[in-house]
Amino acid sequence: MGLFDKLKRGLEKTKQILRTDVRDLFRSGQILDDSLLQDFEARLIRTDMGVTAAGRITARLRADHGGRTVDVDAVWKTVRDEMIDLLKGTDGIRWDLSNPLSPIMKAASGPTVILVAGVNGVGKTTSIAKLTNLLMKNGHKVVLAAGDTFRAAAVEQLTMWSERLGCPIVRKESNSDPAAVAFEGVQKAVETGADYLIVDTAGRLQTQKNLMDELEKIRRVMRKIIPDAPHESLLVLDATTGQNGLSQAKSFSQAIGCTGLILSKLDGTARGGVVVAIRQEMGFPVKYIGVGEQVDDLELFDPEGFVDALFAK
């Protein structure tokens, strides 16, 4: 099942929002007036993309089509192009749908280190399990490091996953230093000749200075063994998150230099539109999306599919 179908299946569950797509809102022959545009803006805002981005798209629509009779195909094209432009950005990242690992940067030699961070309860550990599964299915050797030593039973949670997936895990007792766990993880990955090391971290709110410093430390310590680690710093973002997602992206990026997002929980009614604002302001793209609770419910992000799904029927 491709991304599109899966996303759509996720969206099937919804009953209220965005059932009607652009074609339903704009009918051929109508005049594209302010009230119509306002309705459209409301729809955009409901995806959580924020007032600024929604305003930009609406303004574009107003400039191109305002006051004229609606040509549905042209309107749809304008909206779609604008959104895809916003999401694709200019840094040339490509999501190759035939290769699900295409957005992950690969280390020149030795293990590729992936650091995963995010606020509490966004689904970091589950996303790691899904990512591990994806990597292993593609024939790679993965080592996990259980860096969430703070939350009760978080280490157990990841350990259970590692047993289910059958990959080695580095762990320490709870409340030990997460940087030490990460360090040992790197050591183990190098020793065993693993292809990937995925480091879990405890959930933290981006306003907690000392915890953000801790993240920096994890990064610093890993660099003692592999100077360019982590090759990927992924921020996990809950699709239900509103405008605070932007603040999360800013702060986490400051601490660990985020290279991409995993947008989780897209199987609900939330659209995760805030990634549009994040792409625009912070520059880093969505790499994967979580579309369910099963371990293979991790999909490669695809801007075109995402925009279509955003307005899917």
């Binding site: 939350r151 157990e156 949670q157 306003t207 239900t240 509103g242 605070n244 609900g268 939330a270």
Partner: protein, 494 residues
Amino acid sequence: MFENITQSLGKAFSAFRGTGKITESNIRDGMQQVRTALLEADVAYDVVQDFVKRATEEAIGEKVLKSLRPEEQIVGIVHQQLIDLMGPVDHSLAIKRDGISIIMMCGLQGSGKTTTCGKLARRLKEAGHSPFLVAADLQRPAAIEQLKVIGGQVGCPVYAEDPKTSNPVQVCKNGVKEAKRVGAKVVILDTAGRLHVDAALMKELQQIDSSVAPDQALLVCDAMTGQDAVNSAKAFNDALELDGVILTKLDGDTRGGAALSVKAVTGVPIKFIGVGEQLDRLEEFHPDRMAGRILGMGDIVSLFEKAQKEFDEEDMLRQQEKMQQGKFTLEDFRKQMRQIKKLGSMREIMKMIPGMGAIVDQMGDLNPEDDMRRIEGIINSMTPKERQNPDVIDRGRRNRIACGSGVQPADVNKLLKDFSAMGKMMQGMSSMGLRDRMRAVKGMADGGFMNPGAELMEKKMRSTRGPLNQDEAREKKKKQKKEAQKAKKRNRKK
């Protein structure tokens, strides 16, 4: 982002102030700012539309039109309306005097149910009840272990079954039975996180509801939720008839518009808010503070309460006295700095003070914490004697301190200079009334107190009543006069 809606409203109106008249259409324009602010705070779109419409109607009245500061009037109206919408409060958990009370927690994945269960249990225990936790989350790996650990921390029993052979409905039933057997008073059911669109799991929730008949069904909702908050809250309310909402993760910098959305669509009161990962971080919900937060207006009451909790009152009084007598030492200074640190980051603190939000923006990437840490390092490198009496610090000592704390000797010097300037300022301040003191603090802020780059130099104190130490000044003047006369004589002799 909006930091202060009053400011942006002020901007919107200042354009018209020149013409001398605020009209109805100006107010509508101003209301657009309110609308944007609410949307930026993640209040649901429809709720915002309704709200703005109602607030506009109220604002278009004589009072605002004739007011000198219409932005303040409007913000006042908006603020009050927000409070009305989010109130009235109801912090009760409907604990029965005799018999067993059952509280069921539900919510989306990752909203913080399990942690909140622990917080509630702790709160109930402190209030003299005997809570009992039931681990009905059989979905997430290690969720049962998490609840057990939390139960251990609170010191309350946890009931769990093997997830392979049981189901959530059965666990809840058996859990309540077990609670009755051990004589617990309040049972808290920790259900698995679920999507509101997952029909099967929502049905399971209803089954639990009908089989154990909880007295309270509480929805745990992440305060950072965006527009989707209305959908999930509505679905849970339709399925369960919620009795209350607990808003979590409010210790971050989210504006928490979800609070308004959830209350507006479900009508269910928000009972508590989670403000930290520790189990004691559960507070009662106050609509007035939340309203201020949604509008980005600062929250001095919460700051005050927080300070009261963290600071030792006697210690504060002692320090105050010391300040008045001008005996405030570096030791005290360090102590105070540590206390302030406990309150949270400087940025966070300042955002809570009305009017200071704008300064936070001006600071940009400047980080007062780093500066505070360096200062603490310098003080740490002094001997107790030096801290008591900084005057003994000579060149040698200064170099030693600089070496010890990894700074330049000039930095040590600057700290000492700033400190003596501050001491004088404080001495002056402590003799002022509250009003003057507030003004002085504001003056300090304007003068770059929060800007680590700016030097906090000793400013000459001028006042209409003349210098503070009049006698000294008089002596000084006399001396100067005498000297001048002597000089004159000398000159004449030549």
